[in-house]
Amino acid sequence: MMHRETIPRVVTKLLFPFILLFALYVQFHGELGAGGGFQAGVIAAAAVILYGIIFGLSAAHRIAPPWLVEMLVPLGVLIYAGVGVVGLLLGGNYLDYFVLDPDPVHGQERGIFWVEIGVLVTVSSTMIAIYYAFAGRGR
């Protein structure tokens, strides 16, 4: 879209890694501060969408290919549901995190970690996929 403006391009290139870093911070610091998988997913998606707005859709397709994004949408749900199945296999109830580790508290942390990863994957890829679908229609 904006192919000639220099300032937005440079600022986007500067900001892009920091936005992704902030998304990772929100993701993995969610246990201590505000945030979690949902917010981190949206922030990560915002980074890709910003890139797509400034550098054009094809550039965004290069860093996040549509087939990959569409595959990640169900993958996140499967990760989340898979945590529950692992709990079942280890002898607990569905989504029971206590059995994931010999130490129940560590099991909780591990379960929450993977569940949040699942949420992050689904949320961010869904947002990016919807943006691709919208932006791709204009041509």
């Binding site: 501060g33 945030g35 998988g37 995190y97 909780q108 379960g111 699942g118 919807i130 204009g138």
Partner: protein
Amino acid sequence: MLLVVTALAIARVRNLFAVVALGGIYSFLMALALLVLDAVDVSMTEASVGAGISTVLLLGALYLTRVDEAMPLRFSVAPLIVALVAGAALLYGSWDLPPFGDPAGPIHHHVAPRYLNQVMAETGVPNVVTAVLASYRGFDTLGETTVIFTGGIGVLLLLKGRRRRRGSGGAAP
């Protein structure tokens, strides 16, 4: 107060571009209100989803359509009545709620004390919101993730299916 002004402006302005911008402002004001209420996680979600992603998606939709809102063909009174009745019902319902911040309110005596007191011992996660979302209410969050997934593929099917049909028909838009 600012929320009311913004909402009125959204209803009055005919230029959809301005409406989208005002919608972003509304979301940020809402995020501020939630921040004042100490709901940092919700506030963050509102700011990023409401003001960020929705604004971008609405702008993307505007890019595909016209910028000015079409005038209604005739003035209809039914939507106004529905809105008034729904608002009155919500107000009526809010009369029975306990006063804001009342420590004797029912929600503070069901499972909340256990969450707040036991969260460190049971999960070792200092942020209670995360612990409740991912652990105590894990099934709810699994459902929410599935809802996002379902909504996402629904939108994708609608947007992409249309384009493919048009492409196979060979008719230029």
